[in-house]
Symmetry: C2
Subunit: 417 residues, 2 copies
């Protein structure tokens, strides 16, 4: 008996609207659990704890300039008519201390970052003092606190510095380092496994021969998975054998699996029926071209409360790219706490050619951009990967539109960063 999911050689019963698939992805792309990693390796990762400082930075008052530390009150009244003379009692560089107390009428030569000694509360900058015979003459007064970095000026003890959910920036890593935090709790990376199916496929390390072609999808998906914060922990090249694919789906420990190939209506397309058998086939077939045979489902994870997300990606490389980018990348970014937005830069350009689209269908259109004008790349079948390397950008037509007219201003996404 054929299951409902078995639509092989019959055609999709019902395509799921793309928005519905996006909703399902959002619903099922839960944040992952956290792990503790070295602060020095946490840039770009998502914080899974609030950071509260247990120290002041700095923990001592320090000079903000190269100059002379002195008691501000003792400079009051200084002017060009009443120059005041201070005796230099020493010289202090950062990391060093001056243990005696500086007296009124004395000044200590101090470098930026040097700790203010007792008896001083201001720093006169070097350029504003006239140095002679181990003395300085000053022509203007300074106010208390001038050019002094107070205790905690950067970070105060007990201050909340970063909230959970923050995607850590390079300067955050600097900040966490400055409070002495050697490790930090972040969301773990989603673990991804690729199941590349197809009797016609050769591994990337093999030589093309006869009626076999080299699998290019795994090579293309690897850097994309990395870009989206995923950890690709296995790539399996599998023949079109239902039991073998079944075994891999069951045994995988990954959070997310991508099955490429075997997702359409051919007799060797086992992905959909396997998802139906092992778990839940939520979506199979979407009104998007290429990428129409995309599927999405859930199967039980290794532990009871756990679930593995499975994406069925068409084997044709352009379909595979667009389905990955539109659906899988988004899921990975959501799981790792990042923005679901595309990492591509947007641009508004004028269409130099018209673009037709069938109502009810979203088209993934590749474009060449010249001087802010976009030219449609005609050689655009699902199997023509070179169309995505020749293109500068892509756009997606709206589902309820017939496309765009020549001269329309359209939003495109640039392939290059």
């Amino acid at each position: 008996m054929k299951s409902k999911a078995d639509i092989r050689m019959r055609g999709f019963l019902k395509r799921t609207p793309v928005n519905k698939l996006l909703e399902l992805i959002k619903e099922h792309s839960h944040l992952l659990s956290s792990e503790e990693i070295l602060t020095s390796e946490a840039s770009g990762r998502t914080l899974a704890q609030e950071i509260i400082s247990n120290v002041n930075v700095p923990n001592f008052a320090r000079s903000a300039m190269d100059g002379y530390a002195l008691d501000a009150e003792s400079t009051f009244g200084a002017s060009t008519y009443n120059p005041l003379i201070f005796r230099i009692v020493g010289q202090l560089t950062p990391g060093d201390t001056y243990d005696a107390e500086v007296q009124s009428g004395e000044a200590l030569s101090i470098m930026t970052g040097g700790p203010l000694p007792k008896g001083t509360n201001a720093v006169l900058i070097a350029e504003n003092a006239e140095l002679f015979d181990n003395k300085i003459q000053i022509l203007d007064s300074v106010t208390p606190g001038k050019n002094v970095g107070q205790i905690g000026e950067d970070i105060k003890k007990n201050q909340s510095l970063l909230k959970s959910g923050r995607v850590l920036r390079p300067q955050d890593i600097g900040l966490l380092t400055s409070i002495g935090l050697k490790s930090v709790k972040v969301l773990r990376k989603p673990e991804v496994e690729l199941l590349i199916t197809g009797d016609e496929l050769l591994k990337p390390i093999e030589q093309a021969r006869g009626v076999k072609i080299i699998d290019s999808n795994s090579a293309m998906l690897s850097p994309l998975i990395k870009r989206d914060g995923g950890l690709l922990n296995a790539v399996h090249q599998l023949p079109d054998e239902r039991d073998l694919l079944r075994k891999h789906l069951i045994e995988s420990n990954a959070d997310l699996l991508c099955v490429t190939g075997g997702t359409s209506l051919g007799i060797e397309d086992h992905g959909p029926t396997l998802l139906d058998e092992l778990g839940e086939l939520l979506v199979h077939g979407i009104p998007m071209r290429p990428a129409a045979p995309t599927g999405f489902g859930l199967i039980p994870g290794k532990s009871n409360c756990d679930v593995k997300k499975v994406f069925l990606l068409p084997g044709n490389p352009v379909s595979c790219l667009s389905a990955y980018d539109y659906f899988v990348g988004r899921s990975l970014r959501l799981m790792s706490g990042r923005s679901e937005d595309w990492p591509y830069r947007k641009k508004i350009v004028k269409l130099a050619t018209k673009i037709s689209s069938q109502i009810g269908r979203i088209e993934y259109v590749r474009l060449r951009i010249k001087k802010n004008r976009a030219f449609f790349i005609a050689a655009g079948g699902a199997s023509i990967l070179s169309s995505t390397t020749e293109a500068d950008a892509f756009l997606l037509t709206e589902q309820e539109s017939e496309g765009f007219a020549e001269g329309d201003e359209v939003l495109v996404w640039l392939y290059d960063e």
Copy 2:
């Protein structure tokens, strides 16, 4: 005798305009030599060869759909009034071959990607045929070539696929893999060395104590260098000892060195005089705040024709960040053949507060963005790293402007990707 470069405790003689420094960086940031790496690891790297395919992809005509391969001419005349019957002679899946010749009146069941057998030149899609008793009935004719992917439809033998200088995209890696290219020549990554100077600094793994602070610059710069395509091959924490810094500058094998700290006018600021002694101090002091004590110079490399770029970065972390971002990152991107543009996203926002700037000086201003309105972060000294973690964005004032008025629309750069 003091050298011209020795302006310690005296003040900058002459600040170099920021544009002049950018020009010098461009002039000296030559493309690096190339190296051969695995294609699978080349995403994001810059191609240092032209790629010409020596194969056709595919190397055989293949079905573009699931359906029936047949001779198009034998379907001519088929219509609802004149249904034609074809006998199914077998079934072909991708990677397999059908060795006999298909005769007129016969059809072969074929899956997407399957090689077209002899005697056929078109594929009738499965949905358009009525299957019964190992025969199909068709109600419409097909044209020769219909639903057939011809030899070389994706890539033609001797076709130029990618030019030298291309920053490789994930789909480029797929393309190179599909023509069997296992390794590829790319520009090597610029090697970077950090010389972190300051007696007051502790290594990131130490505990803050007394008048010492933890170096946060190396932790912050590491991910930035990685982002800009650099390879950080050494970090040295050095005390303020001229001879030690001198030794490291001479012995380094890096393409680019960043010296943090010791770049200003203090008595322990050895960077500028060392550059002057060992090579050429091109710039010291720029009209930018923070980051005024930034320096740039060249010293001889290990081989005769070679030169090491040296950036003197202020030790204060905000200065260090802005000087890195504005100058060093750009140099690294240029050396590795990427766009010199900032990797930050741009946005136009309305200023909620006025921003004052001194004419003749560029200010690096940190801003909070709320509902497209930008708020100035007041606590903005060069040592307040937390100002860059609290901020959402930054802007740079124009050198010849007094800043911006409240309500002005300004271009800002977003810290987050």
